[in-house]
Amino acid sequence: MRVNVPISVGGWARLFSRWDMLAVLLIIGLLVFLGEASRHLFEPLAELQKQPPSLDPRHLPEYAARTTLRMLVAMVFSLLFTFTYATFAAKNKHAERILVPLLDILQSVPILGFISVTVVFFMELAPGRVLGAEYAAIFAIFTSQAWNMAFSFYQSLRTVPAELEEASRNFRLSPWMSFWKLDVPFAMPQLIWNMMMSMSGSWFFVVASEAISVGNTTVTLPGVGSYISLAIEHRDLKAVSWAIATMLVVILIYDQVLFRPLVAWADRFRFEQEPGIIAPKSWVFDVLRRSRVIERLTEPFARVWRLTMRPRRDKLLAAEPAVRRRNLWIGYLFGLLAIVVAAVLLWRVVDFFADSITLGDVGTALLLGLATLIRVVVLIAIASVIWVPIGVLVGTRPRVANMVQPVAQFLAAFPANLLFPIFVSVIVVWQLDPNIWLSPLMILGTQWYILFNVIAGASAIPAELRACGANFRVRGWLWWRRIALPAVFPYYVTGAITASGGSWNASIVAEVASWGNRHLQAAGLGAYIAHETEAGDFHRIVLGIIIMSLYVVVVNRVFWRPLYFYAERKFRLG
């Protein structure tokens, strides 16, 4: 399946547009607002009365259920967000200009940063402390799921075939009806793929969001995540193993009960039928589909659903305006509004930082960011050297690919925290430099995206092209240079973009590792944010987040986006 690029690649003429600038300001403004709010709420907050989670594995089923529930609730919100935000962005030209850059920047904000600045805010929002913590955790999971789903949906909406859209207008489908009959089905396969990626990705942050302390506010929610952090605190290897086993089971159940049926169901929405693709199968889906009971049970809902599709009588559907004459007034008004908003935000932001952050702080953060940047670059390079050849070899063998794919998916969901014991012990015993040897943790979860995509690319090499290569006896290094590498290059770029974004995100966890009372720290922006979060210094948390987002966005715009266009133009097959 063709995978979406996880960054905005719409207009590439300019590196940064005015709207990007506004988007940056809006998000910095949001962070500042949250940070400000948290700072003021901070004092009166008493420590959460802890009901310490137990390391008894008998609690694990309950913990797993709670964690799963949180992820599902977050997924529902992510879907709601996707359907509204992305639809608005795709259908409204004015909104699109700001919503797309906004999403692009939002994606680059480290998710754990969101947790740091929102947790206190959310806890104050809810009357019972625990409920507030639940809000915060769910919000954190939401931020790890929603952005790429919304992006995929937006990109799908933009590519709905014109003839189908005309047909739905010609037969006078209401907007609501054509959304559910045309837009959503068309976007469904990509969206489900992204939901799976989001679910995998959010495991990583569940661990972080269930047990977090900001300053002296400590939140511990019963769940697999807090179980893991407790196990690490207590240096309990057995508990860590239990946690790993639990996760394995939960991920398997997810796969069988939720995603496989969804993928099998979504197969009918595949627009282009590439030959040679075996329809995905799922026993759960087959059971559900064949069951009469299920049909009876769902029929009333289906009926109500169909009722919502009823047209409202004599409501005229507007034709597209003849010449897309830009309504100048709306444009001007929009621009003016943007300037006012930007000015207010700028003032708030400057005000927030004015008396507490010095230029030196900014310099420090920038320098630490550079350290993290170097780590990301080196790690992506190493991961590429390892996984591209393997991906090509696997992808050109369909049977192997079918076996490797689910394994890689599980590994992508594997939270790096679980490997702390190994890394910390090894580093301590051999007295290694944490600056170098903690780094692999960053890419542990994200390197798989490179593998996924390269496998997808290699299996998409047309049989004719491979036969031609064989016919001319192209082999060895020549084969790699002329056939394999160019063919997978566009896919590799997509995977590497995801991996690079993910590694930045992971740095907050990966640059500081602990095992019991052993704390290791590497110099980097991730460690900086983690450290300031512990200290509860909201000014510096926000500063760290902003600098990190800045790095991610600049790297995307200056490096990945041009590379993506180059790859698409030159190496895209068919």
Partner: protein, 434 residues
Amino acid sequence: MAATPALLDIHDLRQSFPRADGGEHLVLEGVELALQQGQIVGLLGRTGSGKSTLLRLIAGLARPSGGTVTYLGQPVLAPAPGIAMVFQGFALFPWLTVLENVQLGLEALGLPEAEIRKRALAAIDLIGLDGYESAFPRELSGGMRQRVGFARALVVHPNILLMDEPFSALDVLTAETLRTDFLELWGEGKLPIKGVILVTHNIEEAVLMCDRILLFSTNPGRIISEIAVDLKQPRNRLDPQFRDLVEKIYVAMTARKSSPVAVGTGGEKTATIDTVLPRVSANLLSGLIETLATAPFNGKADLPVLADELHLELDELFPVSESLQLLHFAEIEGGDIKLTDAGKQFAESGMDDRKKLFQRQLLAYVPLAAHVRRVLQERANHVAPKSRFLDELEDHMSTEDAEGTLRAVTAWGRFAEVYAYDDDSGAFSLENPS
């Protein structure tokens, strides 16, 4: 005839789009059309004649820049009930079964479920799709898919059926079966429709199906001629009267720009720097020259006969023959194409001489090619970016046309070895890679 009000009335219709340089790109101009009950009207023209645009204006899918479309006395400003469309690419929803696809329009009307089902099944039966109700479009052949397209349009009982080249995506045999079936149902009065507008670029199809044919010019689209077809259905393609009409249309469509009939079809005799060039490969040009030079044509051919011989449709034959005319390898007049001396010489030459000959004609008769070469020669390093020429062209034509024209001139220039183009750097140069 005049007593019954027309189903559809179009008056002085105009459609244009804004261009990059602030001007406007005219697509349709001064279109007058009336559709009477019981008529099939054909809109015949080439790509770029705005006939599909016209169909979308009638369907209410777009709004005109000027003029009016009146349906049953009401101006069409939005998709109107009673006007249904059959699409070139079928436009079926791949995730809906045949039945669900057919039901779609009725669901949008908000009819009771029982009636939706009854009418959908009736339409499926009528159009010959019995037994396919639960199939998905991907399981069907092209012909069956288009039948679903017809059933979906007919089931809403439209007054006017709009057909946008409905047979052009099908193979010859399937298309013919579908046409015959449609005409039969139409002739027997079994179709719940009152009038049909058919967009096509297939001349024989137009003569076979329509009561009236409107010929469109290109850039901008105007009606250049209206031809009434009085032959009785079913029509026979081999009937001399049928052949005469086909010939007559070819003559009208190849009329020279200077002729009093009307403006030509875009195939101007000589190009200027702002002529939109068709994207025709040098191979295709050589192929046509060779075909023309050999028996049975021996240098001169009747276009309909040539089209028949080569299985080419209007849209395919015209760009090639007009490119030949542009390069002065051939002349087109009165529906005939005739090789010039240069053309004959080209046919007899080997590859190297052909390239030289092509180079001569290209530089002499395609001012844009000569212009590109001159610019390259004037520059010290003999290199110029593509954007330089693109910007220049966009002052005279739409962005799309400018891209196409530059590609055409790039391809011809490469063949003639007049200049080279490197896609990586997007630059024209005088050097050939060594």
